[in-house]
Amino acid sequence: MSVLLELDGLTRTFGAFTALHDITLSLPPGRVGLLGPNGAGKSTLLKILMGLIPPTSGRGRVLDQELGGDRDSAGNWRLRRLIGFMPEADALVPGLTGVEYVTLAGELYGMPRREAQRRAHEVLSFLELDEARYRRVEEYSAGMKQRAKLAQAIVHDPPVLLLDEPTSGLDPAGRDAMLRLVKSLGADHGKSVILSTHLLADVEAVCERVVIVAGGRVLRVGTVAELCGRREDRYRVRIDGDPAGFRDDLVTEGVQVLGEFGPGEWRVSVPSGWTNLAFFKLAEVNGVVVRSLTRDDETLEELFLRTVSA
């Protein structure tokens, strides 16, 4: 597959309200973060990508499957077979054990019963729920519930995983583990992952690409490296010696100090026309030594806030 998804002028309205406005987007397979504040249109976009609601206008394809039409059409069933969806809501079936829950998911995807049972045991072992597989899902801890939900999404080995807030409700250790797992499914097992979240750290940890959505529009698309490296005016500088004079001279020259990490270590934004040599000249003037000077790219959080607020 050369293209994961391709959207062309996709618009979705609900009455007078436009949830998605003229979305044009093309993404190659890989791990994609769908970032946006509440009400940005992420959920509507996910529903359209799963063929649950049709776009009002525009066209789109996910893995060569055309989007649109009634949610119960054969085309949209084919589309949903290619997608493993992990919802944010609990979405567990009370009364079923872990293995029954995942087996049922496999059968709902169309797997033969015995295959679904065998596969359910496999994926539960993979997700280290093997010892809890015969416990009822409503008795699981928050982390186990998230893993059970992930298990039902990967039971039929889909090429695309659509994860809606997969770290919701997890403690830090559980969150790290979940993110490593999701990253591994993408990096080691060739799954394309679309991660919908408002947690920037999750996207930074897992995704190669980011789509920033706000107000029903796509504001930015690109790799994390591209987007965060776009600002070339940021440096992190560390000196040995008296920092006060050096810092004052930097400010006098038009350098903006964005943050201080300790005595003699700053994050700065330089004015246009600035050359790195200027740091060393100022250091010489103030009798200090530049120990470290590195490019300090904009963080995803800064990019996100800047993009959304603009």
């Binding site: 589309l79 059968e107 995807y109 169309g110 797997m111 033969p112 809606d164 797992l181 499914l185 080691d188």
Partner: protein, 311 residues
């Protein structure tokens, strides 16, 4: 949580052929029956179903056995008493392998079935809405009608276990107690009638259960709604028709009576023999039952939506 590479290496791809969405409905039905069977309350109610069944089963056997074994009279304290007097209390049930036997059987099972279905509705459908399981189903490659079909099949299994299957056993028993070759050949229409009655009950009640459970979701409100539909409306219909001598069409507000009338039509019973009298026409009852089914389908079409899935 898996964090190490050796753990992650255990993931294995799966390649196989996927079935169509119809199979998903069967899987849902199987799971529904399993979920019901795990409830103690279900087995308690099923015991009551069996109690009614065994009453009919042994009643039928008793009525066939007594005349053959005891003759016309039996002597009790030097007084000859006609045997028929001992079995008078069973007369109203028509335990003779006729259409009325099976109609009465389903009618009496109805009291337990109503409570059983309230439980089934809240466990099998209400929970999906109450605990957010609906996204689990509808995000799969199935349509909303496959979801409804799967749930209806599961509920239909519960209904048939309590009505149709025991009725068929009673039919088989009635044949064995009589001249079985003649009975089975002459009463095949009764077997078809029982199956038809079972089908009507399955379709109408399962749709009604799913629609009601989607609406109220929890067991206690479900029971209250069902009691309102099947007890309160029945009492009201009886009071209006029998007490106030109003038109028999007022009985149409009693859904269980309507189902009974459609069942009697399936069993080819003369409308004049249906008790209590007067009754509305068969077609009127069938129209109400059909209307309920259509109403439930329209409601489910509106409520079982993709909007429930994300956000």
């Amino acid at each position: 949580m898996p964090a190490q590479t050796d753990t992650l290496l255990r993931y294995r791809p799966w390649r196989g052929t996927l079935h169509g969405p119809g199979w998903a409905a069967l899987a849902m039905a199987r799971t529904s029956v399993r979920l019901m069977a795990r409830r103690r309350l279900y087995w308690g109610l099923f015991a009551l179903v069996l109690l009614v069944f065994f009453f009919f089963f042994y009643g039928q056997y008793l009525l066939a056995w007594i005349p053959g074994q005891l003759g016309d009279t039996v002597t009790v304290a030097s007084v000859k008493v006609p045997v028929a007097n001992f079995t008078k209390f069973l007369d109203r049930l028509n335990l003779n392998g006729s259409a009325h036997t099976f109609g009465n059987f389903v009618w009496f099972e109805g009291y337990v079935v109503v409570i059983l279905l309230a439980l089934a509705g809240s466990v099998l459908v209400g929970n999906d809405f109450h605990h957010g399981s609906l996204p689990f189903y509808l995000a799969k490659p199935i349509g909303r009608w496959h979801y409804v079909l799967g749930k209806c099949l599961g509920i239909g299994a519960v209904i048939n276990l309590a009505t149709t299957i025991p009725a068929i056993i009673l039919w088989v028993e009635a044949g064995l107690l009589a001249d079985w070759q003649t009975y089975y050949v002459n009463n095949l229409n009764l077997l078809a009638g029982i199956l038809g009655y079972g089908l009507v009950l399955t379709v109408c009640l399962s749709l009604l259960v799913v629609a009601t459970a989607v609406w109220v979701r929890q067991t206690v409100p479900m029971v209250m709604v069902w009691m309102g539909v099947f007890v309160l409306l029945r009492l009201l219909a009886g009071w209006v028709v029998d007490g106030l001598r109003a038109d028999p069409e007022w009985r149409l507000i009693d859904l269980w009576n309507n189902l009974y009338l459609v069942g009697m039509w399936c069993l080819q019973v003369d409308p004049a023999e249906v008790r209590p009298q007067p009754q509305p026409a068969y077609w009127q009852a069938a129209a109400v039952v059909g209307g309920v089914c259509v109403g439930c389908c329209l409601y489910l079409r509106r409520r079982v939506q993709a909007v429930e899935i994300i956000g």
